[in-house]
C-alpha cells in the first residue's frame, strides 16, 4: 500500500450499495443520481452503519489486502469486524496491557481522561450559565471556577484512587450546577442529584438512558480500532466491566449526553407523560419517550464539532473513533500522551 496517509471510508447512508470495480469501490447512494468511485488504494478501512450492502467481491478483496471492514448497527453499536489474514491487533492489545501494568503510563492516561471530562463539564456549565437567572448564574460560575481548580489537582494526583476521588467530587459539582440549568415541564420534579441503578426520577432516568447511548457508541469505537474495551486505566479491569469504554466516554458525557438532556427537557420535547414509574420506585422512559430520545440522538450524532487536533470538524458520532485512534497511537508509542477531546465551539 501507499506511503501516503490513508483514509477511512464511513458509510452511514441507509440503503447505500458498495461494489468492487477493478481497483476501486463504486458507491451508489439511494436518491443520488451520480455514483462515486473511490480508489481502494487510498482507503485503509471501511466502516458501515446499519443497512448498507457490500458485494462479496469487495469483502474478499478487502480481506486479501488486509483492509478492515467494520459493521456497526444503525445506532452505532459494534456488530462485527473483518481484518484479513495478516493483521490482527494483538500488538495493540499487548501494548494496552503493558500500559496498564506500568503505573506511570496508566496514571498519565487516567489523568488526561479525568482532565478532559472536567474541562468539558466546565464548558457546558459556563455555556448554560449565560441563560440562567442571576443567582443561579453566580452559583454556576462559582462551580466552574472550582472545577478549574480541580483540573490543577488532577496534574498532581499521585495515584489512580486519588484521581477517582477528584472525578467523583467534580461530577457532584457538575450536577449541582446542572440542576440550575434545567427548566423541565410541569409534573417533572426538579433534579436534585445524580441517582443511578436504578434512577428514581425522570431526569436521572433520561441521563442513564443517554449515557447508555454514549457508551454503546464508544464501545463500538474501541472495537473498531482494535482496542480491548475491557482494559481501562481510570476504571481498571473488572469482570464484565468495559473499563476502557468507561474511560473514553468520560469526556463525552457532559457535551453529548448532559447537553442533549437539557435540550430535551427545556424545550419540553420530553414531558411528564414520557416517563413511567415501575414497582419498586425505578423510573424509566416510556416507549414514546424513548422514540423522542432516539430521534434526537440520531440527529445529535450528525452534528459537527471542532476537533482541535485533527484541525477540522467531525460529526459527533465519529468523535469516539478519533479518540480511540489517538489512544491507540499513544499506546503504540506514536504519540507522547493521550489527548482527550476538548470541546470548543
Amino acid at each position: 500500500m501507499s506511503l501516503e496517509l490513508l483514509n477511512t471510508l464511513y458509510v452511514q447512508t441507509q440503503g447505500a450499495d458498495l461494489r468492487l470495480e477493478e481497483d476501486s469501490v463504486r458507491v451508489r447512494l439511494p436518491e443520488a443520481t451520480a455514483r462515486r468511485v473511490l480508489p481502494l488504494r487510498r482507503i485503509d478501512a471501511i466502516v458501515v452503519y446499519g443497512h448498507v450492502n457490500l458485494s462479496t467481491e469487495l469483502i474478499t478483496r478487502c480481506a486479501q489486502d488486509a483492509r478492515s471492514i467494520t459493521w456497526m448497527s444503525g445506532g452505532g453499536r459494534f456488530l462485527g469486524r473483518l481484518d484479513g489474514a495478516v493483521r490482527g491487533n494483538v500488538l495493540l492489545r499487548q501494548a494496552q496491557h503493558r500500559a496498564l501494568a506500568d503505573e506511570s503510563v496508566s496514571l498519565e492516561i487516567a489523568r488526561n481522561v479525568v482532565a478532559g471530562k472536567i474541562r468539558n463539564s466546565r464548558w457546558i456549565i459556563l455555556r448554560t450559565a449565560r441563560d440562567a437567572a442571576p443567582p443561579a448564574r453566580e452559583e454556576m460560575r462559582t462551580v466552574a471556577a472550582t472545577l478549574a481548580e480541580k483540573i490543577d489537582t488532577v496534574a498532581s494526583a499521585a495515584d489512580v484512587d486519588t484521581l477517582r476521588g477528584i472525578e467523583g467530587d467534580s461530577a457532584r459539582l457538575h450536577f449541582a450546577a446542572f440542576r440550575h440549568a434545567l427548566r423541565p415541564a410541569d409534573g417533572i420534579p426538579p433534579f436534585e442529584r445524580r441517582v443511578r441503578r436504578p434512577p428514581t426520577d425522570p431526569v436521572n432516568a433520561l441521563l442513564s438512558y443517554l449515557y447508555g447511548m454514549v457508551r454503546g457508541m464508544v464501545h463500538g469505537a474501541a472495537e473498531q480500532v482494535g482496542l480491548d474495551p475491557y482494559v481501562g486505566y481510570l476504571h481498571g479491569i473488572r469482570p464484565a466491566k468495559p473499563g476502557l469504554v468507561l474511560d473514553l466516554m468520560e469526556e463525552f458525557r457532559p457535551v453529548l449526553a448532559d447537553r442533549l438532556a437539557l435540550t430535551l427537557l427545556n424545550r419540553r420535547q420530553l414531558r411528564a407523560e414520557h416517563f413511567e414509574e415501575l414497582a419498586g420506585g425505578a423510573v424509566q422512559l416510556t416507549e414514546d419517550g424513548r422514540a423522542v430520545v432516539i430521534r434526537e440522538w440520531q440527529e445529535a450524532r450528525q452534528q459537527l464539532w471542532e476537533h482541535g487536533l485533527a484541525g477540522r470538524s467531525v460529526p459527533a458520532g465519529l468523535l469516539p473513533v478519533m479518540q480511540a485512534r489517538l489512544l491507540a497511537r499513544h499506546l503504540r508509542g506514536d504519540l507522547p500522551g493521550y489527548l482527550p477531546w476538548k470541546v470548543t465551539a
Binding site: S2, L3, E4, L5, N7, T8, L9, Y10, V11, Q12, T13, A16, E21, E22, D23, S24, V27, L29, R36, V37, L38, P39, L40, R41, R42, I43, R312, P315, L318
Partner: protein, 96 residues
C-alpha cells in the same frame, strides 16, 4: 505527492473505445475523476511507476496521449472551480 492526469484516447474505432475504458478504469483505482478525462491523484513514487507501466501497456503509442502533471505539495487542496465542478477531498476520512 499530488498529480493531475489527463488523457486523450483516440476513439474513432472499437479498439480505441476499449482502450479508453481500460485507461479510465485503471485511473479510477488511483485517483478521483474530476472531469471526463481528468483525474486527481494522490500517490507515492512506487505507485506512480506502477500506474505509468500499466498505462503504457494499454495505450496505443501512435494514437493516444496521456499527460501527468506534478502539482506543488498540497496542490489538490488549492483548486479554484467554476460551474458544476466540486472540490474533492483527498486526505480526509470520507463520510457518505
Amino acid at each position: 505527492m499530488d498529480l493531475l492526469l489527463t488523457y486523450d484516447v483516440d476513439t474513432t474505432n472499437a479498439d480505441g473505445a476499449r482502450r479508453l475504458r481500460r485507461v479510465a478504469k485503471l485511473c479510477e483505482g488511483y485517483g478521483l475523476r474530476v472531469q471526463k478525462s481528468v483525474f486527481e491523484i494522490v500517490t507515492d513514487e512506487a505507485d506512480l511507476l506502477r500506474l505509468l507501466a500499466r498505462i503504457d501497456d494499454i495505450i496505443n503509442a501512435e494514437r493516444d496521449s496521456i499527460r501527468i502533471y506534478r502539482l506543488p505539495a498540497g496542490g489538490l487542496a488549492d483548486v479554484r472551480t467554476l460551474g458544476i465542478a466540486q472540490v474533492q477531498s483527498h486526505r480526509d476520512d470520507l463520510v457518505l
